[in-house]
């Protein structure tokens, strides 16, 4: 049903009414009577033994309620923070996972690692108490450099060579054989810079314990409250799930960093139980910089073998990935199953071999950040393809075209374990070239040169595997949880509809998009649909929001539940109209009997469901409320073409983005306005990685980019307006034909920017971020920074 509020319409958002009037309710806006305040004592050293901790002065500080140390948590049998994905090394051995106590007990391994929590009547008292702690640290040499971490001092007793795993994917022999036949081999050595996520809302938690029921309630800034509850119940041993409720109210952005279960909320909920009082914590931004899981941080060597005509013969990737000091919740999966599996990109590369060595360093844990593994993979493939095009003198668009998987090739099985269902990569590239006015580039370049500037253009034709994930596949590859989603559709007596989804919305607009789907499918007014999320007390066990999965997986669950509603509605209607069930059709919000003028509105059927006069109870239950779990049969494969055009000021090295074009194929689009917004935000993060953002540690493991004074967040004046468009090949295996749009911008854009920068400078590589000094040096040296 195409309406102003149905599928395909740019409906204005339901969420906005509260956000634009200041009525949003974020975790820090929630307060409880008698609440106390938590402040975490954090390690000033990147690596040290904690030989003792004198808490007496802290406990004696005015207004301090309690001090809890790592030893206290251990004594209370609070469990370690687990990693949820088991990756195996080449030799079949399990990855090595060092113990990760929520509060450090005997050693600290990154600056900012918490080793105690001080609870005060006021925030100020708690801060005073934290300053009065007297830890006995014995500083040790820190391991900071990823490239040499395997040869450096051993950080964890249980982790030889600081190696988490040494993983491989693909056929090594076939790939080596392909290289032996190559006409040309292009190779690159690149660094994927460490990023710090920086959702504008800092993480926060409010823990409560209700003595009467023995129930814990945790308000926290989580993208997936059920996962939070599962870990706190099953691993940390706070309470059984039935007596632990996790609520994620409005959450101010996540970008992956709020997927994970962190030390702080763990300590807060546990302390609330110990104290029988509410305990609240909100990160200061400096804490976010130090202790939110960071993203990316790879050092990579990659080679592409090509035939004389430019056909790709083989791809070899050797990568080192930084895990930081401990394994965060999904850290192990990011540089492996979300990375190596994407190395085919959009191309028919017949042989691919990927090796990934993941290493520990004395830095903050690294985990999924918008795109998670797929931006890193795209960066390898697309920088390499562009390099090959330049070296072989083939137009970079043309080289890609020659190697694209063609529409007729789908379903296409890649050499790296994925089966792409559908796509039309040439269509996206053609559209992007058009928007970018590629044919006019030379003239623009000459104009820039006349003005003393250098101009470059760069491409990135990315693919991503989204809609995480088919549980069967994920579990077989080491996932510790299923990755389905739940959706519940409750039709109210008067015909309004409440949807409960396990997908949490922290900017993605589920309250609008899901309402559009329901309105469209059930024919009920958009205004009458309310979407609830973010509360383990409301929805069944669910997996939450990450990996561009909400619509493809969560939306599909809602569709399944809606189908059940319609099926039951038909039964009710058949009974009411004295027709056979298979004669009843549902269309445009009414139940009609075929070949008759008999009809009931959706509202009439809903009312009858709850007012079951004359109801065949033995055949039909009252009520109209259905639930469905959806487990996707495959990943979805959004893909697209990004083209970036930059101008460089050779005097200063300043790079300006003159134009950025993104043409993406997300399958069917429910709300184009929202999808464009998701792309814009992703582009800003991808461009931020290329030109601005960098998490930098010094040799001793101190974070040099630990505030907005030094970590360059993209601001309005750093970015252009974007040209965004879509092409559509519907996903073949979910009911909406959708693929997911949340991460595409961040996955595709970075390589396009850097291909443009290197094109402008006429150099092979510039390290990211391509800051003005880096570019200026590259120009002076004619090479790598």
């Amino acid at each position: 049903m195409a309406t102003e509020t149905g599928i395909g319409a740019s409906v204005k958002r339901k969420e906005d009414a509260r956000f634009i009037t200041g009525a949003g309710r974020y975790t820090d806006d929630v307060g409880q009577h008698g609440q106390t305040y938590a402040v975490f004592a954090r390690s000033p050293y990147a690596r040290a033994r904690l030989n003792g901790l004198d808490t007496s002065a802290a406990l004696a500080t005015d207004g301090v309620v309690a001090v809890f140390t790592g030893a206290d948590l251990q004594a209370s049998e609070v469990g370690d923070l687990p990693c949820g994905w088991m990756v195996k090394s080449k030799d079949g051995s399990d990855m090595v996972q060092p113990p990760h106590p929520p509060l450090a007990v005997s050693s600290v391994n990154y600056v900012g690692e918490p080793y105690a929590v001080v609870i005060g009547e006021t925030l100020e008292a708690a801060k005073n108490g934290a300053e009065a702690l007297d830890p006995d640290f014995e500083e040790q040499d820190a391991v900071v450099d990823l490239a040499t971490a395997a040869e450096a001092d051993q950080i964890h007793e249980s982790v030889p060579n600081n190696q988490c795993y040494d993983w491989e994917l693909g056929d090594k022999a076939a790939t080596d054989a392909a290289f032996a036949q190559a006409h040309h081999v292009a190779s690159i050595d690149i660094v994927n810079n460490r990023l710090i996520p920086n959702a504008i809302e800092p993480r926060a938690a409010l823990g409560e314990y209700d003595e009467a029921s023995g129930t814990y309630t945790l308000h926290t800034t989580s993208q997936n409250p059920h996962l939070e509850r599962l870990v706190l119940a099953a691993f940390v041993n706070i309470a059984p799930e039935a007596r632990l409720r996790v609520i994620s109210p409005d959450v101010g952005g996540g970008f992956g960093s709020k997927i994970f279960v962190y030390a702080e909320e763990t300590a807060v909920i546990w302390a609330a139980g110990q104290l029988r009082r509410p305990v609240k914590w909100r990160a200061e931004r400096s804490e976010s910089f130090l202790a939110d899981a960071h993203g990316r941080d790879h050092v990579t060597h990659a080679e592409l073998a090509l035939a004389e005509d430019g056909r790709f013969l083989g791809l070899r990737v050797k990568n080192k990935a930084n895990m930081g000091a401990y394994l965060s919740t999904f850290a192990s999966s990011v540089p492996t199953y979300l990375y190596g599996t994407l190395m085919a990109g959009q191309y028919k590369t017949p042989a691919i071999y990927v090796e990934v060595q993941s290493l520990f360093t004395n830095t903050a844990p690294v985990d999924a950040y918008r795109g998670a593994g797929r931006p890193e993979a795209t960066y390898v493939v697309e920088r390499l393809v562009e390099t090959a095009a330049r070296e072989m003198g083939i137009d970079p668009a043309e080289l890609r075209r020659r190697n694209f998987i063609q529409p007729a090739d789908f379903p296409y099985e890649t050499p790296v374990a994925l089966t792409y269902d559908t796509g039309d990569y040439e269509a996206s590239l053609d559209r992007a070239l058009d928007h970018a006015d590629y044919s006019g580039f030379q003239a623009r370049r000459e104009a820039s040169e006349q003005g003393g500037k250098k101009r470059g253009i760069g491409f990135s034709c990315y693919i991503e595997a989204c809609g995480l994930a088919p549980s069967q596949v994920a579990i077989s590859l080491g996932a510790g949880v299923g990755l389905f989603e739940v959706g519940e559709v409750r039709v109210d007596v008067t015909g309004s509809v409440t949807v409960v989804t396990g997908s949490h919305s922290h900017g993605q607009s589920h309250e609008t998009t899901f309402a559009q789907i329901i309105s469209d499918k059930l024919g009920v007014p958009f205004e009458n649909v309310t979407v609830l999320h973010g509360d383990t007390g409301r929805s069944d066990y669910a997996l939450g929001t990450y990996g561009s999965r909400s619509l493809a997986v969560g939306g599909s669950a809602i569709i399944k539940a809606t189908d059940k509603i319609i099926a039951k509605g038909k039964k009710i209607a058949a009974h009411m109209l004295e027709a056979k069930e298979d004669q009843v059709e549902f269309e445009d919000g009414s139940f009609n009997v075929a070949d008759s003028n008999q009809s009931l509105t959706f509202g009439e059927v809903a009312f009858a469901a709850y007012v079951p006069a004359n109801y065949p109870l033995e055949e039909l239950e009252p009520g109209l409320s259905e639930k469905a779990f959806y487990d996707p049969p495959n990943f979805t494969y959004p893909a697209g073409a990004h083209i970036c055009e930059v101008e460089v000021d050779p005097d200063t090295g300043v790079v300006t983005i003159e134009k950025f074009v993104a043409v993406d194929d997300f399958g069917h689009v429910i709300n184009p306005m929202i999808v464009e917004g998701q792309v814009h935000g992703g582009l800003a993060q991808g461009i931020g990685q290329a030109l601005l953002e960098h998490g930098v540690y010094d040799d001793t493991g101190q974070l040099l980019s630990g505030s907005y004074m030094d970590y360059t967040m993209p601001r309005a004046d750093d970015l252009p307006s974007f040209t965004v468009d879509t092409t559509v090949t519907p996903c073949t295996h979910n009911p909406l034909g959708v693929k997911g749009c949340g991460e595409a911008g961040a996955i595709g854009s970075t390589a396009a920017v850097m291909n443009a920068v290197t094109d402008a400078l006429g150099v092979k590589d510039v390290p990211m971020p391509a800051t003005s000094e880096t570019v200026w040096r590259a120009l002076r040296n004619g090479g790598n920074g």
């Binding site: 300053e131 400096s286 200063t652 601005l692 960098h694 040099l704 360059t712 003005s772």
Partner: protein, 260 residues
């Protein structure tokens, strides 16, 4: 923040005596540096003395070729003034709109942040810093990293700038903080050329080698070949000393080109 006593004196004398009486006092003007410092517990003054209640400390007046700007004048007000266009441009590029709505001239220069913008103008324009004790020549005001010629308890009350024949300010902002990585104010007064540089060194200074070259030939090309000594320049993750030295030259050329 640690605890402190907040005072809002209504006379200069009361303000200075509050400072004398305090165990460790801090003057508060716009608060754009002090308050973030307090929030992060990087300073622990016993007493914070807010200067915003002092009379006659704010506003811009012109007397002949002297522009006098009260120490409590907000950056936004200077940015909107046409008294000295280059100074207005400088003020309009400080921080962000909110910083300009609160931050003050006096607060900025009294802090002597090596990356602040105003110091470039203080040293480049013929200026006099007026204080609760007496005048200090602009050229003598900055003495080190976060150090000035102000004596204990001394309050900047206003700054006099002689209107130059022509001037221009060029800034290369730190991409994260938006402070100056390097800022260069070039001013012509008769035959004299002044080049004030901020951001590059421990405090704002005049680039005399550039001034001499430009006095001989006031053209962008005259800057080429003039070596900028970067031996005591700042270096951080955004810009090395060498790059800062390079930027001093580039920005000077651009300022000269704009003056024409």
């Amino acid at each position: 923040m640690y605890q402190f006593n907040y005072h809002k004196p209504s006379t200069l004398t009361e303000a200075t005596s509050r400072m004398v009486e305090a165990e460790e006092g801090a003057y508060l003007s716009g608060g754009m540096t002090l308050i973030p410092t307090l929030k992060q517990r990087l300073a622990a003054p016993s007493d914070v003395i807010d200067l915003s209640g002092l009379p006659g400390m704010s506003g811009i007046s012109i007397d002949g070729d002297i522009v006098s700007i009260g120490a409590m004048t907000r950056h936004a007000e200077v940015a909107a003034s046409d008294a000295i266009p280059a100074l207005a441009e400088l003020a309009g590029g400080i921080g962000d709109a909110h910083v300009r709505n609160r931050g003050t001239l006096g607060g900025s220069i009294a802090n002597s942040d090596p990356a602040a913008d105003y110091p470039a103008a203080i040293v480049a324009l013929d200026s006099t810093v007026r204080t609760s004790i007496g005048p200090i020549a602009g050229g003598d005001f900055f003495t080190g990293l976060f150090e000035t010629a102000l004596r204990e308890g001394e309050i900047v009350t206003s700054v006099d700038f002689r209107i130059p024949d022509a001037a221009a300010y060029e800034k290369f902002p730190n991409p994260a903080s938006r402070y100056a990585v390097v800022g260069v104010m070039v001013a012509r007064c008769g035959d004299a050329v002044c080049v004030g540089v901020t951001g590059a060194g421990p405090h704002a200074f005049r680039a005399t080698a550039l001034e001499e070259a430009l006095a001989a030939d006031f053209s962008p090309g005259a800057v080429d070949g003039v070596a900028v000594d970067s031996s005591d320049f700042n270096a951080d993750i955004h810009a090395s000393a060498e790059y800062r030295a390079h930027l001093v030259g580039v920005l000077t050329k651009r300022a000269v080109a704009r003056i024409g």
